[in-house]
């Protein structure tokens, strides 16, 4: 088994589409709790314990803000907590809805974070290159240009500081100078596009019957991930469509059809979201075994 971050790019995209669709569409607290916990665990497995900093700095405040915002601005619900000065009811149900929405948003942030980590620009080009060559070329050039403009901008500021033309005249002048530099970087990019187009054409850009090269191979592990994901996604979808994820927040909070059968769908959804963890952990176990064997030898 290989790490999930080495998955064949289209398989990774299919997986994340499933995960995002379910995270965004399922409003049942159990589904959302699974989304949040599993996406946090996956993100930690890729990027380490530092992800907790992101969680504390961004996700927890998001949950608090959305809960309070929804609670105090929405006045529907059966369970009245207190009345505001203007006569509006502050009810429990909007707070609950706000809380689960906050959890949902946090889960989506963490899912996108882990997606961003594993889905590098190489994989994006690989996916686009097969279906949309021109778009793929435009994306790859944009991915190249943006950091290049940034680097040149910093080099120019540094170079001008080296001859005393930047940094010594006050913030306003520096800001104006930075704007001029940025404008010149952009016009330089436009100028260079002529040279780049020559380079592309001289290497055959525009020839019919071009092919696509990718570093990625669709292996046996990718087949397993794909089959596993599809089967679990289908079962989860069946559960949601059958009403096993239905929940009411307005005017009262009620989790409908939450019984022993819904447990099956919860477990399937949990397994779907832990696919990356399962593959990453299996690799860790394997390497620990190798270490033991090599230490014994």
């Amino acid at each position: 088994m290989k790490r999930f971050s080495d998955t064949y790019p289209p398989v990774a995209i299919i997986y994340y589409v499933f995960v995002l669709v379910f995270s965004l569409s399922a409003k049942h607290p159990v589904y959302l709790a699974i989304s949040a916990v599993c996406s946090l665990a996956c993100d930690i497995s890729y990027k380490g314990i530092d992800v907790l900093k992101t969680f504390v700095k961004i996700c927890l405040p998001a949950v608090v803000v959305i809960t309070l915002l929804n609670g105090f601005t929405s006045h529907w619900g059966e369970t009245v907590l207190f009345k505001m000065k203007g006569g509006n009811n502050i009810c429990l149900e909007p707070f609950i809805y706000g809380f689960v929405t906050g959890i949902d948003v946090s889960a989506v942030i963490l899912i996108f974070d882990s997606f961003n980590f594993i889905f590098t620009s190489d994989k994006l080009i690989f996916v686009l290159g097969s279906k949309a060559k021109n778009t793929g070329a435009a994306v790859t050039m944009a991915l190249r240009e943006i950091p290049l403009i940034g680097r040149r901008f910093r080099e120019t500021r540094e170079a001008l500081a080296g001859i005393g033309e930047y940094g010594s005249d006050g913030r306003k002048k520096n800001f104006m100078l930075s704007a001029s530099i940025l404008a010149s970087m952009i016009s330089r990019t436009v100028e260079e596009s002529v040279i780049r187009s020559d380079s592309m054409i001289s290497r055959g850009w525009g020839l019919k019957k071009s092919s696509r090269y990718g570093k990625f191979i669709f292996s046996f592990s990718d087949r397993i991930i794909l089959c596993f994901s599809v089967v679990l996604a289908l079962i989860t979808a069946a559960g949601l469509l059958s009403g096993y994820g239905e929940v009411i927040y307005n005017p009262y909070f009620e989790m409908r059809k939450t019984d022993a059968v819904s447990l099956i769908f919860f477990i399937c959804y949990f397994l779907l979201l832990t696919v990356p963890l399962i593959f990453n952990l299996s690799e860790v176990v394997k390497y620990k075994k190798f270490d033991k064997i090599s230490n014994c030898q």
């Binding site: 005393g164 530099i181 010149s184 380079s199 001289s202 696509r212 090269y213």
Partner: protein, 533 residues
């Protein structure tokens, strides 16, 4: 078979009155390595680009260019793409992708090769050029030399039989240029790829070439085998400026072919000595006056200075102590990526050291390694006028030979011209201490000797120069003191002659040739020590 048969009566760019090329007649054999050499503005780029229709300049053309016996215009686009590779002088501008692997496989994809074949072609090319470790890197993390090797690989992966190189090393430092040309020579000798190279500084690739053609104002002014270039007519002084030291030293004493390398020159001197045709003096040049008793004034003093860019990163400079004397030209040499440029930026007060003491006595101006980074306005003149008035700008442009490009956009001029313009801009800052990072990179050789004089005049007025360079010839003519930068620190400062004589690798070819006999470090000095019998 002839690879190219070129017969150009004239070529004018659209909307231009002046002929860019006139009466060009030459042929290139299969497997030949031909250099087209000339000063900036001699139309080398125009000629090279005419050899592939997809990059040919537009204009009024009269003549005929044949490729493999057929009119170039009748060779299909696909065939030209497969057979003719082109690399230009802009490492950044000609790359398409943000990943090295995608850059190298780009051409093969366009030609429609199956993925397994592309993998093999790219893998072989990377192995041949020694860049397999760069395969998974991002292009913006590469150095200039690495980028140009990747650009070469991107073209070679398509398996061309002809390579057109348009001043590929004009934006690289000498050591990166040497690596690039070594790779090109390997392709020529081991694969039989025909190479046509345009260069304004052909000194290093001369040893690989079969023939060199000199271009002057769009016309061929001479043609010779590399060993015979000193016998070619040299109205502009270009040949004398670019000829290697080995040729300059042996030219008065040998008729016929002259040596291109240090080893060949040593053998020739031994042979001439054994035949009693020359004598070589073993006396040393007078040492500079000992100023140990005099009070020294220092322009820059570093004591135990350490610096790193990021809080959690490694030190780039560690416990470095260096004293740069006022009124002298001090040079730093060392390997690429060792931290020399960082040290210059500290001295220019672009960054502050994290520890240690740095004292700078006077106003500094730094010429960065990337000269274009000093320019952000529309014209060169506008950029120069930021810190100087019109009169000063015109005076400095006369001195640096950039009067004819003042109204040009900085991104439209050649590498040599922008280097001169950047140097001029640094001088316009009126510094007490000039800090130069690879100042002769891309400069025309004819101007380098003028630049040496400008620096001498600068220090004669009591001001100071601190520079980093790989150009040992330039160092031998200008530097007063040299030190070596390695492992985040400097070695002790030595007098220039002493350093060049003691160093085995960071020295001039003249010194390597004459080391057995005396301490000459330039070709002119060597000639003073050799007498014809």
């Amino acid at each position: 078979m002839e690879k190219y048969n070129i017969s150009i009566d004239s070529f004018k760019y659209a909307l231009s009155e002046k002929e860019a090329l006139n009466n060009i007649s030459l042929s290139v054999k299969e497997g030949e390595f031909v250099i087209i050499a000339g000063l900036s503005g001699s139309s080398k780029t125009t000629l090279i680009r005419m050899l592939k229709t997809s990059i040919s300049p537009k204009g009024e053309f009269s003549g005929k260019i044949e490729f493999e016996g057929r009119n170039l215009n009748t060779v299909p686009f696909r065939e030209q793409t497969e057979k003719i590779g082109y690399v230009n002088q802009f490492p950044d501008a000609q790359s398409v992708s943000d990943s090295v692997w995608h850059e190298i496989s780009f051409g093969c994809e366009n030609l429609g090769f199956p993925p397994q074949k592309i993998r093999m072609m790219c893998g072989e090319t990377c192995a041949q050029l020694g860049i397999s470790d760069l395969w998974n890197r991002k292009t913006d993390t590469l150095s200039g030399g690495e980028k140009q090797l990747v650009n070469l690989a991107a073209v070679i992966a398509m398996a061309p039989n002809t390579l057109l190189l348009d001043e590929p090393c004009s934006n690289l430092d000498p050591s990166s240029s040497e690596k690039f040309y070594d790779a090109v020579d390997k392709l020529n000798k081991e694969q039989g790829i025909t190479v046509i190279l345009s260069e304004h500084n052909p000194e290093y690739p001369l040893r690989f070439a079969d023939r060199i053609i000199f271009l002057d104002s769009g016309k061929i002014s001479g043609e010779a085998k590399p060993q015979n270039i000193m016998s070619t007519e040299d109205k502009t002084g270009f040949i004398k400026a670019v000829a290697p030291d080995s040729m300059k030293i042996l030219n008065p004493f040998l008729s016929g072919e002259l040596p291109l390398t240090v080893r060949d020159a040593e053998n020739d001197i031994e042979k001439l000595l054994s035949e009693n045709k020359i004598s070589v003096s073993k006396s040393c040049f007078p040492k500079p006056e000992n100023d140990s008793g005099q009070k020294k004034e220092y322009a820059i003093k570093l004591k135990d200075v350490s610096f790193r860019y990021e809080k959690k990163g490694c030190n780039i400079i560690e416990n470095t102590t260096l004293s740069v004397k006022k009124g002298k030209i001090t040079a730093l040499v060392g390997a690429n990526g060792s931290g020399k440029s960082t040290l210059l930026k500290l001295c220019a007060k672009v960054y502050k050291p994290q520890s240690g003491k740095l004292t700078v006595n006077g106003k500094t101006a730094l010429l960065p390694q990337e000269p274009l980074s000093l320019f952000f306005k529309q014209t060169i003149e506008d950029n120069l006028k930021i810190s100087a008035d019109e009169k000063e700008v015109y005076e400095i442009s006369e001195k640096f030979g950039i009067k004819n490009i003042l109204s040009s956009n900085p991104f439209d001029v050649s590498g040599g011209e922008i280097q001169r313009a950047a140097a001029a801009k640094t001088f316009l800052a009126k510094p007490d201490i000039l800090i130069l990072d690879e100042p002769t990179k891309g400069m025309d050789k004819l101007f380098v000797s003028d630049f040496e004089k400008i620096l001498r005049d600068f220090t004669d007025s009591g001001r100071t120069v601190l520079l980093v360079t790989h150009d040992m010839k330039f160092l031998s003519e200008t530097a007063d003191e040299i030190c070596f930068f390695f492992d985040k620190n400097v070695s002790g400062l030595l007098g220039a002659r002493e350093f060049l004589y003691e160093s085995r690798f960071f020295t001039t070819d003249a010194c390597k040739i004459m080391r057995k006999y005396n301490d000459a470090v330039t070709a002119d000095e060597a000639l003073k020590k050799i007498t014809k019998i």
